[in-house]
Amino acid sequence: MSTTTEQPSPTFDFSETPRVSFSQLVSVELRKTVDTSAGKWLVSAVLALTAAVIVLYFAIADDDQLVFEEFLGFAASPQGFLLPVLGVLLVTSEWSQRTAIVTFALAPSRTKVIGAKIVAALLMAFLAFAGAIAVAAVATAAAGRNDGFSDVTVATFVLFLGLQLLNVLQGVAYGLILLNTPAAIVAFFVLPTASSIVFTSVSSLSDLAPWLDITTAQSPLVNGDFSLTGEQLGQIGVTALIWIVLPFVAGWFRVMRAEIK
């Protein structure tokens, strides 16, 4: 070093600094979903309700309905209810609890952080899916019918998983666009219901309903009917675009520009 009067400005040296990897952020996000009481309760509720609903179905359903697909479809309803809340909370709790200040100070790339949240949400949905499959399989075996698994196809699994993933993404999307827990949860439950009411009560709209109303489009899946036509698949895709992708994109841009307070 030269001994000039002008001191060189001290500059950071990154040669020995480990980068914050994407997988690290995903595991931190997964950790954050279960390290608070609210998170623990929510995950426990998903598991407990899935099991409870299956037991309930076991008790009330007719004997010839005790097949794997029916069990799986029934397991989907509480999950479809609670997984989106998990998706909402992953995003909005950063704002309602104001942890976003800390999160984005440690990982300034908002793209990476939100990306990690999405992956974490999808992983949770995947786990719920695996859980539902396991519970449904046990229940089917316990029912002891010879044809219990006879209608099961790969499509069953793919569509059921797809439904769960769409659900949780919808929660994330509403979380991103509203950045407020109660508002996002209310929007998630009220808007599709309101839309359903409009589309079923106005007769001139009933032809359009499967293409515009997400509840109508997804109803075969929720009812455990996994043999879909191409048209039905298209309807699920179109409603997903309107109800999930558009809010998601808008919310994404909002968060990328937002001032973090």
């Binding site: 400005s9 001290p10 500059t11 950071f12 990154f14 600094t17 480990p18 980068r19 914050v20 990897s21 690290q24 952020l25 595991s27 931190v28 950790r31 954050k32 390290d35 608070t36 009481s37 609210a38 998170g39 709790s93 609890q97 104001r98 942890t99 200040i101 800390v102 999160t103 984005f104 100070a105 440690l106 990982a107 300034p108 790339s109 520009r257 001032e259 973090i260 307070k261």
Partner: protein
């Protein structure tokens, strides 16, 4: 080292931060002082990329915050000790930070011990923390990655006197080891004992900056407080020499240096009971410079900033 250049942020027509520039050097604690709403927090948020500046930029260690690799390892940030999930335990909050930065669990325990949070306190949820405990936890969080630069917003807020002293010693020690510290406060007495340098901000603008000594001498207008034995005689004598004297308390305030008042009294053979400098203290100066109500009566901020800069250069 932190380099803030022409940083501004406007909301609508309102300038929350208005063209501020300053430098924080390694080995020094820089106090960022201003009343509530002066723009300290907005300025700090811009430094760490949480708020986009309308104009200007900040570099820390020569980089924009977004370009710093694993920033927690280089810059310790505490903007709001309450901005943590109320349902998370203190220890878990540090764990989340450590995992993000890729630090071992042992580092969390080290930091908890350093800020004197006991094992049972660390297991409590944040909602059951006092503000002082939150500040300690926040400091632990900022220091997790063993950073070279610390940016702390009102870290002494909510600490008891012992806690304030603890924080002071901690930051002084940190700077002595070569660290750069920027800490904000709205209380002068909180920072004047720890800061090597002060930046006074009011209404989004820097109104003065420099070390304590140069700031204290900023009140350049000569003023003396004098209690003469014969008041009328001294007033007449001062007027004869061209100095204005106005009654204040038991004596007079004179717009001249104490030395000049002393000269006049000797020359006219007048006895004095008391004579001292009428210069305002740093606290008065701070209030005058930063208070929106009294701004009109304060010396022009620009001229003060110029004085402080020239003083700094000559040091």
């Amino acid at each position: 080292m932190i380099n803030v250049k022409n940083l501004s942020r406007t909301y609508g027509g309102y300038a929350a931060v208005d063209d501020i520039s300053f430098t924080c050097r390694p080995g020094r604690v820089t106090g960022f002082l201003g009343p509530n709403g002066a723009g300290k927090t907005t300025a700090m948020r811009m430094m760490v990329g949480l708020t986009t500046p309308t104009h200007g930029e900040t570099t820390i260690g020569g980089y924009h915050y977004h370009d710093i690799v694993n920033p927690g390892r280089h810059v310790g940030v505490l903007l709001d000790a309450s901005a943590q999930h109320a349902g998370r335990t203190g220890r878990e909050i540090l764990m989340v930070g450590a995992k993000t930065m890729g630090l071992p669990t042992t580092r969390v325990d080290e930091m908890l011990a350093m800020v004197s949070l006991t094992e049972s306190e660390a297991k409590r949820k944040l909602r059951n923390y006092s503000l002082g405990m939150k500040q300690r936890l926040g400091i632990a969080h900022a220091l997790l990655g063993d950073p070279a630069v610390l940016i702390l917003d009102e870290p002494a807020n909510g600490l008891d006197p012992a806690g304030i002293r603890w924080m002071r010693d901690l930051l002084k020690g940190y700077a002595r080891r070569g660290g750069t510290v920027l800490l904000s406060s709205h209380l002068l007495n909180e920072v004047e004992l720890v800061a090597d340098e002060l930046i006074l901000i009011g209404r989004g603008r820097i109104v003065a900056q420099g070390d304590l000594k140069s700031l204290s001498s900023l009140d350049s207008a000569d003023s003396a407080l004098v209690t003469p034995v014969d008041r009328d005689a001294l007033v007449a004598a001062l007027r004869q020499e061209g100095h204005e004297a106005t009654p204040e308390g038991e004596g007079l305030r004179v717009s001249a240096s104490p030395r000049e008042v002393s000269r006049v009294s000797v020359q006219h053979g007048l006895l004095l009971n008391d004579l001292r400098s009428g210069a305002k203290g740093l606290e008065d100066l701070f209030l005058e410079l930063t208070s929106p109500v009294q701004r009109e009566s304060a010396p022009s901020p620009d001229s003060l900033a110029a004085v402080s800069t020239s003083k700094e250069m000559s040091r």
